[in-house]
Symmetry: C2
Subunit: 288 residues, 2 copies
Amino acid sequence: MKNRHFGDVDGIKEGDVFPDRQALHNAGVHLPTVAGIDGDSITGSSSIVLNAGYVDDLDLGDEIIYTGHGGNKDGKQVEDQSWDGAGNKGLLISELQGLPVRVTRGYKHKSPLSPKSGYQYSGLYQVTDHFEEVGKHGFIICRFRLEKIASTTTSPTIVGGSLPAGTANPGRTQSTVLRIVRDTAVSRETKRLYNYQCQVCGITIEVKGVRYAEGAHIKPLGKPHDGADQPDNLLCLCPNHHVMFDKGVFSINDDFTLHLIGGKLSVHPKHVLDISNLKYHREHICIN
Amino acid sequence: MKNRHFGDVDGIKEGDVFPDRQALHNAGVHLPTVAGIDGDSITGSSSIVLNAGYVDDLDLGDEIIYTGHGGNKDGKQVEDQSWDGAGNKGLLISELQGLPVRVTRGYKHKSPLSPKSGYQYSGLYQVTDHFEEVGKHGFIICRFRLEKIASTTTSPTIVGGSLPAGTANPGRTQSTVLRIVRDTAVSRETKRLYNYQCQVCGITIEVKGVRYAEGAHIKPLGKPHDGADQPDNLLCLCPNHHVMFDKGVFSINDDFTLHLIGGKLSVHPKHVLDISNLKYHREHICIN
């Protein structure tokens, strides 16, 4: 297993500028001198460079919607991307296993945050989401949402399997987040209709006699999906099926049978689902 | 079912001051004129007043550790509290079902945020946690962590069971959060040791061939617990058992048998757990 370094690099601070990709390599911030993703399909991806290589990249500052690797020729998308390539699979690993990703912005990248020249280290982000869509040039692209996090140290991976020591007194850091304002009644009343039983498996979690379930949006609320915070876009799920649905382990056919895991979604007669949301989820979140 | 109002009250803004509890009642902010919690054991608790009634309350501004109701005489704790009372059960419901709680600070409450006189509405909080401990006066107290959230509207509960309409275009709001800085390697390597299988039920969640599990701290990291971010305080769990463990649905005996749900925790020979953390969890998080 590669001894890949995740997290900040000793001696390098957010805002540091490097004249070229070789300097970025030498500093240990981003090792490949051409590829935009520094990652592999075993340990994950530890770094990306934004430098206008992909026309579909969207940079909101603290939130980046990043296009995966592949199918790109001279900045133009010429074929479909796949989730199996080292960089894309690596970013998926970083998402699912909670690994921090270093972000560097290059001078060609179109953003007020880009440096005038060279490459500027922009700190650490976490991959919070992945999805798939047809990009501006007509081919399927793999997309990742990255959100800014505070600097964090991470113990090196010890080959041989000893666990890292960690810390007895973890510090705290303040950060600013942008949250979607939800009508709490939408989720509450939908879950109440199902008596907090998961629509997939029927289980409920009961804490001192109080039932718990999660409200899962079918078409996600965040950009670029912009799903509605309405009951026809909401499911009542247990935490396991919520994670599995959000991450695209299964999807739901129009007749409510479950794609990839079998079985059928329980739907209460008073709960009218918007079928177009199920289609959106099949086409963007769970594509298999 | 009571048609309890959760969320901000029309016409009342954060910072508004009311001369007395009757005025707070008249405004619809907090209906009881004496009790600190406005809640019931069916729909949840919608409002609390902080006014020095409980010696163990801890007010950090955006985070409040609030003492539940009961066993209190003239500001002194004289017997154990229980989770069954309307206010405490109501706050538990608000936690598990994600309901916003209005917070009002009174003139007697010892905090820089308290008004000089009267009662000041401090906006909405969510209950993020509950636990139990022996308070300063030697009796068991029920504790709730509340964290500030942005103002939010909530549709009224419609008796008869129709679902609220919700909104097609939910807005966004910026807020500041205090996060605990974790060494990402601690959780990552612990989960890797178990190949992402839940130590309770053995399942794993697999997304496009990448395994997912969650790192669950046994003694929680947050205040007042101050648990360590170290492998001997960490478990590898599926999302369902993570929620169940954090909310105290089960606990773990020193011989790794599972209290309240049966079975036994799988523990890898290389994973040395600190038994005192299991004891802490039994005594504070899962008390039954």
